[in-house]
Symmetry: C2
């Protein structure tokens, strides 16, 4: 079992990564000061529930907790105000009080939704993340929780740190291979922005990662979480440096938005976005190898690196204009300067982005 | 013009109280670091808008801001998830970014709603309170913002401190007299929990306050805000001492809930609740004069001090069981021990509360 501390002063919390953690979740939760006198609510989705919900509930009940659970539909549509209200109803009906905790059992959608419920139920109660996807290694660090507004993704949210994160790698073994690749996209991203050695390690160990080798996964997740934790520790509220974690996300979110949520998995969309950002980097003076290296690393873990012809460049441009990464009218992009290094550019010209999108359609 | 600082470390903010502040709001907003490059959104209600919205918009525009406004129906029904979503839509359509601010022009409902929108739009943007009621002197200090769930009041919310509070006493002159009395209830409450001299001052100056004398109002509001600010400074997240501000609220919220929001104004309901709490205090050993004094002080400012016969005692009891002031199964009450002093009792028996409710129906 590996342990990592996310250092945020009095809001610091540990991440436990290993095998068999779900069976002992009750002990971990109790060890971290969550009162046995107050009821808990587990929020999960209909894909995860059949595999892991009973194990978690049994573990919590054995430790002495009263636990209710709520199962939401799988996928991005559950990050709606409608489902949010339903979860609030579940929390009230389960008689959660100010000492209660909400546990998120699932991927990024469940974590974002359950986290926002925890952030706002009675003005904020405790929150525990139990990620069951690789992608969630990213969202489980940093406390960003949110739901979607019909006009924009993640527009309604909060910063709400968990009490602890329990990462049971056994739960990753049932992931479909497309989701494995998409999840690894954020892992590679952490290497690309901050740690060239780790980016190369991901490429070299791509086969083990794709085969869900537990040791490779545990190391990769720990390293990915550690890089993110280090950045978040410096800038909890995303007023500066934390923005570098958005590498590939400006283009990626726009692709997701116009393709209709679902055609692209988040990791696939940001993979294309990261190739686009590398191209922007080369346009702004980085070595041409940056683009080729980035592309090869992402291909190694089975990710798309080109933009399908049928997505309109102008639609993507227009979707980016709605993105909340526009601050005071300027277009902000995270631009790689080399593998493992990025810069925050606040002066990116729309023409250059349009050109990159066109070139992304010609990638092979 | 009087000024008060709410001391909350890096979240500290000033409250300005005086005449003519609305006309110069733009300057105040700019002086407090709200960027002129980002658009603003004013949220107000249909009763306040005709009197004061144009003055505020003109002042902000003169200072150079781009400003949008949204007008919600007056009253508690606007603290719904539906109106919350509409305000999010307005914020997106007004292209608010992470440097923007939302301004609440109105009473407690508008402040709570607009504050929760500001707390959660893009995970939190800046917030300015411009209260137009006496009651709002209470809600504008302390950062508690919330909307209602169909099953419980203020169940969905956050702690979100404003950048500044602009309290223009001229806006109080159009208040209906019933709302004046109800607003003064929270002012008297601040005296009852922490400052006997101020409680007596409120009683002695009841006529001036009810006549909306500007000097009396400005002094009373400043003093009420100062008492609250001192308590909030000690306990921003309501983990301890801050709970004393809930004097009268456990019974009061239950009365509001079962009578149907609207029959009682909030201040009227907590007035009855404060008399009930004083009775509990006497039952637990305080001098009998505590009950009589409390009642007389509240009557002086025109507030009800007895419970109407038609409200069922059992319904009120049951509504209290849903109230979020129940922590880990115990019944928590703020109990006065003398005028200007309260204690937090965590062991209040349901039978005693039931008895007090019955007696409240016999008060004259």
């Amino acid at each position: 079992m590996r342990e990592l501390k996310v250092d945020l002063g009095e809001r610091s919390y540990p991440i436990y990564i290993g095998s068999g953690l779900l069976e002992t979740a009750g002990d971990y939760v109790q060890k971290h000061g969550i009162s046995i006198k107050s009821p808990l609510l587990v929020i999960t989705d209909e894909k995860v529930a059949p595999h892991y919900l009973d194990t978690l509930l049994t573990s919590l009940e054995t430790a002495g907790y009263a636990v209710a659970s709520a199962v939401v539909p799988s996928g991005e549509t559950s990050k709606s105000l409608k489902v949010y209200e339903e979860m609030m109803t579940s929390a009230i009906e389960a008689k959660l009080d100010r000492s209660s905790a909400i546990l998120a059992l699932g991927g990024g959608v469940v974590g974002d939704l359950a986290g926002f419920v925890a952030a706002t139920y009675m003005r904020g109660i405790k929150f525990v993340q139990i990620p069951t996807t690789i992608l969630a290694h990213d969202s489980s660090v940093g406390g960003k929780v949110a739901i979607n507004h019909p006009l924009a993704k993640n527009m309604i949210g909060a910063f709400h740190q968990p009490e602890l994160v329990l990462y049971d790698v056994d739960t990753l073994l049932t992931l479909p291979s497309r989701e494995v690749s998409a999840g690894l996209a954020e892992m590679v991203k952490h290497g690309l922005i901050r740690d060239a050695d780790f980016a190369h390690w991901c490429e070299e160990n791509a086969d083990q990662l794709l085969a869900l080798d537990k040791d490779a996964l545990a190391y990769g997740l720990l390293k990915g979480c550690a890089i993110k934790a280090e950045i978040v520790s410096q800038d909890e509220q995303e007023n500066g440096i934390r923005a570098i974690l958005n590498l590939g996300h400006t283009i990626g979110h726009a692709i997701e938005a116009i393709a209709g949520y679902g055609e692209f998995l988040h990791g696939e969309a940001i993979s294309i976005g990261m190739v686009g950002s590398a191209k922007l980097g080369v346009m702004r003076g980085a070595d041409a190898s940056l683009h080729e290296d980035t592309k090869r690393m992402l291909k190694a873990i089975g990710l798309p690196t080109s933009l399908p012809e049928h997505l309109s460049t102008e639609d993507i441009m227009s979707a980016m204009m709605h993105d909340k990464k526009f601050r005071e009218g300027h277009m902000i992009f995270i631009i790689p300067t080399a593998i493992g290094e990025v810069t925050i550019a606040k002066d990116v010209r729309a023409e250059d982005v349009r050109l990159v999108l066109e070139e992304l359609k010609k990638e092979v």
